[in-house]
Structure formats: structure tokens, C-alpha cells
């Protein structure tokens, strides 16, 4: 028996109306769970393109460790959307939107971020969809996985707390990174993060905006993992 499937509505509209693909055309799709499907269009209905699956291949993610980026949304939503796109392109497993004491923005349109994530996943030829959730209050996130074996770091701007460079702390494996809002983490957040095992770090020597620090962390995760693969 032949396997078949139907594209979601937004992808169907894109396939049928934008790409103008007809029955018989072959396309490649992913399911977001690490599988890629080579398919033949049976019916190019913009409300739901039906497909015959010609072959399935497993496309595991191309990095080993698990990267969780927990970041306070920036005041300017564009900067956050840009960060999410770039983080997914470079490779991230989970993005958590943190609600912090100094957050100027407490909410983000998750459906919009979700679409950006799907688009960046496809653009960068990945088959696994990163998780997105939030807003999660900072204190609540600190209660999660207290016994996690992941390396846990917190980007912090103030030199009032002893900080190490990120590369001194992360040597590969799983990583959870906290990046605070424009006003930085509050002293009580820093205290509770350190109690939860997060190490205060700097991301290089420059003062970076929230979204730049977060993207530096994502890039640094991959740079260090790839160095270990040498």
C-alpha cells in the first residue's frame, strides 16, 4: 500500500498558488520530527495538497548536544524575530521566552515566531523543528530540571558578579543559556540562577545587546562543539 499525506493549509497555499505546482510534480517535505519525505503531488488543492510519499529518509539534527536558549524578549519585537530566525538557522533545540523582573516586553506573538521557526528550519535544510515556549516566569524556569546535567550559563553584564568567558565554562555537550532583557537580570534573579547552578559568563569582551548576546551564545555552542569534533 502506498503511503500518502496532506500538506497543512499554509503550505498547501504556498505549494499550489505561489509555486503553482501541479499534480505529478515531485517535492521534498519535512515533518519537523527529523524525517524528510520525497513526494509526488496527487492533487494540488490549495486547501490541502495531497501527496504520495515516494521515499522517507531520516535526517537527524547535525549537532550532538542539546541547546536550550532561554531569553527575555527584547522591547523591539523585530530584534527577537531576527534572533529566532538566526538561532534556528545555526541550530537550536529549544527557545524559551523568559519573563524577567526588568522585562519591558512580557508577551510575544508565538504563532508569528512559530512561522519564522518553520521557515528558518526549511531554509537551512533541517528536518527537526525547535521547540518554542513562553513566556515562562524566570523563577518558574529556575525550578525546572534542577538536577540537569547540562552546562548552565547566564549572560550577565554587571561586573559586580565574578564572571568567566563562555568558552572557559562550556566544553561541549548539553547547554542551557540564560540571556536577560535590556535592563539585565535583577540581583535576585542572578542570586537564584547561581543557586540553581547557572554560571555567570561573558560572551566575548564587548557589551552586546540582548539579541546579539543570545546569538553569540548559539554560534559559540556550535564553534566549540565543532572544535571538539576535530
Amino acid at each position: 500500500m502506498k503511503e500518502s499525506g496532506i500538506l497543512p493549509e499554509d503550505e498547501s497555499v504556498h505549494c499550489s498558488r505561489v509555486l503553482r505546482l501541479k499534480s505529478g510534480a515531485e517535492i521534498d517535505t519535512v515533518d519537523g520530527d527529523g524525517n524528510a519525505y520525497h513526494c509526488c503531488i496527487l492533487d494540488s488543492n490549495p486547501k490541502g495538497v495531497s501527496l504520495e510519499i515516494l521515499s522517507v529518509t531520516s535526517e537527524p539534527k547535525c549537532w550532538k548536544g542539546s541547546l536550550t536558549l532561554a531569553v527575555a524578549p527584547t522591547k523591539n519585537a523585530d530584534r527577537m524575530e531576527w534572533l529566532v530566525e538566526k538561532a534556528v538557522e545555526m541550530g537550536v533545540d529549544e527557545i524559551v521566552l523568559l519573563k524577567c523582573d526588568h522585562s519591558e516586553r512580557k508577551v510575544m506573538k508565538l504563532d508569528r515566531l512559530h512561522r519564522i521557526i518553520v521557515s528558518a528550519m526549511k531554509q537551512s535544510l533541517k528536518a527537526t523543528l525547535p521547540l518554542l515556549r513562553g513566556p515562562v516566569p524566570f523563577g518558574e524556569f529556575m525550578q525546572e530540571s534542577p538536577a540537569s546535567t547540562a552546562c548552565k550559563v547566564m549572560g550577565y553584564c554587571s561586573p559586580t558578579v565574578e564572571r568567566r568567558d563562555f568558552g572557559q565554562v562550556f566544553h561541549g555537550g548539553d547547554l542551557t543559556v540564560l540571556v536577560g532583557p535590556e535592563g539585565d537580570f535583577s540581583p535576585s534573579e542572578v542570586q537564584s540562577a547561581m543557586e540553581a547552578g547557572f554560571v555567570p559568563v561573558t560572551f566575548g569582551m564587548s557589551r552586546l545587546r540582548t539579541e546579539t548576546a543570545a546569538l553569540y551564545a548559539v554560534a559559540a555552542f556550535h564553534v566549540i562543539e565543532n572544535l571538539n569534533n576535530d
Copy 2:
């Protein structure tokens, strides 16, 4: 004798009209050549704020190697502007806009990019202004500094050429990075770059857009330099 100075017109308008600073207010300024000045406003004229310089401090750049990022402008100018902002925040010495065989965009508004660079320099508390030039035809850039001792890498997407991960090639010091346009470098560009000593590299395992690859390279430069400082 007291040292004095006058702010450029755009900064004067910002100081006088936006920040509404009056005579007697103290401000910090930088000259883009690595010097920071603590000043007192003598006359808050929006056409040229005059200042008395109270003290000068040398603020050398906070990284050791010299980083030249030579990148083909993206079709979408926003993506390029974003890259320039982020590269300056993280730290870059020179940005060269390359004109490549497959470039869809051959020109960029340099004055607009210049303003973004100044703003990002100030935002990230730097006192040295990165150089910006272009568009430079690819072949012309290959003729420059043929005997450079810098590590020279070229991001290249096609597996038709043997590539190494960036971290296997760059171990600190000076770096020149080439990043091609959306359509990648042409085979003849790859050939001439290799003849000029550029090593084809990958930036991690993902397929990245032009601006994402370029920013990964900038972050990786700093990650690796900071690892060497440990």
C-alpha cells in the same frame, strides 16, 4: 590651555534636540580612533555643540587579532544592515562589500551603513570605528595584500570543493573571511581565492544564509580568540 571640540552636526542635533542637554552638562564621546573624551558642554548649539574636554582616555579595541569581513551584499538590504550592526557590536576591524559574479545586489548605501556602524560602535561602548569600503570587485580584492600573514578563509556551500570546519583552520591572530552572495561564489572565484591562499571552510554543519554565515564567522573569531586567552 583648555582643550575643546565641536560635535558633528548629526550628533549635535541628537545632543541638543533629542537629549536636550544644556551648557554645563557632562557627556562622554569617542573619536572613532580609540579615544574616549569626558566633556562639558560649553554651548548646546544644534548646528555644532561645543565642548570643553575634561579628560581623555585611550580605549583600545578589546580584541587582539585584526578581523576583515569581506561579504557580498545580500539582495535584501535589511539583512546586510542587520549584519553590519551585529558584526560591529561583536567586534570587527574592517567590512568590505564584495562584488561577485553571482551578486544580485551590486550597490549599497554606504552613508546609511556608516551611520549604523557609528551607532553600533557607541551602543557597544567601543571607541574605534571599523572601516567600511566597497563595492570592491572580487578579483580586485584577491589582488590585495597577497603576502598577508593573516589566516584567510572563504565560506563556501558546495561540497564540490574539499572544505574544513572554520575552527580547524583559524587558531587566533589576524583573519580575513570571504562570504559569498545568495548564489554562492562562482567556480572561477573559488579557484582564484584558493590560488590567493584562501581556505574553503564551513561555518558549522548547517546551511546558512549569507548574513548568518558572516555573523557566525565574526562570533567564531571572538570565541576562538577568547579560548586562546584562557
